[in-house]
Symmetry: C2
Subunit: 230 residues, 2 copies
Amino acid sequence: MRIAELSRRTGVPVPTIKYYLREGLLPAGELTSPNQARYDEAHLHRLRLVRALAEVGGLSIAAVREVLGALDDPEKSLHKAMGTVEVAVSSPVAVAEDAVAHAQAREFVERQGWTYRPRSDAFQSLVGVLATARELGHERFVGQLDGYARACGPLAEQDLDYVLGAPTKDAALEVVVVGTVLGDAALAAVRRLARREASGRREDAERGSAAGEGDREAAGGAAEGDADCR
Amino acid sequence: MRIAELSRRTGVPVPTIKYYLREGLLPAGELTSPNQARYDEAHLHRLRLVRALAEVGGLSIAAVREVLGALDDPEKSLHKAMGTVEVAVSSPVAVAEDAVAHAQAREFVERQGWTYRPRSDAFQSLVGVLATARELGHERFVGQLDGYARACGPLAEQDLDYVLGAPTKDAALEVVVVGTVLGDAALAAVRRLARREASGRREDAERGSAAGEGDREAAGGAAEGDADCR
């Protein structure tokens, strides 16, 4: 197919496809003439993957490149792919060394019975968040962590089951990549939906009356600004 | 204090502070001469807040502006602030209408006993993620949602408790803002730590032997690529 059809079938504008081609995220098509290339189903799938990572997952182009590298890696190690994706999806947090935040993060990790890995991106990211909370005077924030851990334990098992349920090794690699990125995006959306519900329920409870659907809709409507009017 | 001290105490480079000033995220200091301004503790706190939102939270400048607007809003409505923050932290997902994905999202929401709000950002975001999963051939993905909902119910209650635990109304507004943005960042970090642990445990189980800390460290080390070597 030509680039116009690639664009039509994926919803990605032609200039964006050309950008991805220039950045090497998408392999070149087969040149049928000096100015025209043809693309096949593999290009289609790769383009959809790039779109999923960049637009739905919000990854930078550099991060997308890292992740695609893991997929194309002949070694095809699941653990390596998981590691690459994890690093790619996390935004680096420049952390000024905050000893108290570091200690809080360490105590938290050890309280869960987890291994203390101070040089890992995830641990450093957590220290950065705790340091930021402290610097803003939010001393209570650290108390939120145990609840997060309680939620994340089952989620981690679920994520692994999903990855390991893939039919082939090649499929598993892509499942790791897509599952992680889309999983994070889905979790964020579900989290917002759950918060909206909880917030609406508390509003109803405060009102004290048997609030009908109309009231809940109005209360819920206020919670997302103009969003419902789009 | 002068801008150099503001920079030193927050870790934000002077050019970045000047950028925030130009963008109106930070109010101008008090001019003491045509080329010099003085800043006070309020500026310091505001700058830390901007840094938390933009650098730790990863919000765009436009989103930071929206969120600060909610904080400065004389009406000081908690629900309005929550709504503004929620919209600001979510990346808009351009959704080509996918009826199957929409139906999947609706069934999911109704299965939880939640209100179906098809025009809300959160719902549309979920539809977009499901549509992307389907388009990539990941038919199993929708099965992950119920587990996410189970985790997010308690998290939503916890988030609300945190917000409502603030001492004053002004403090509550900032807690909504910071709690949401930092909370998401902390949850993402904890999620990665939990996944790392779960992955390591399964590796140990596969090995079958009584894997010691050394083995787990090695197994865990592979899961984050070069991260541990930084």
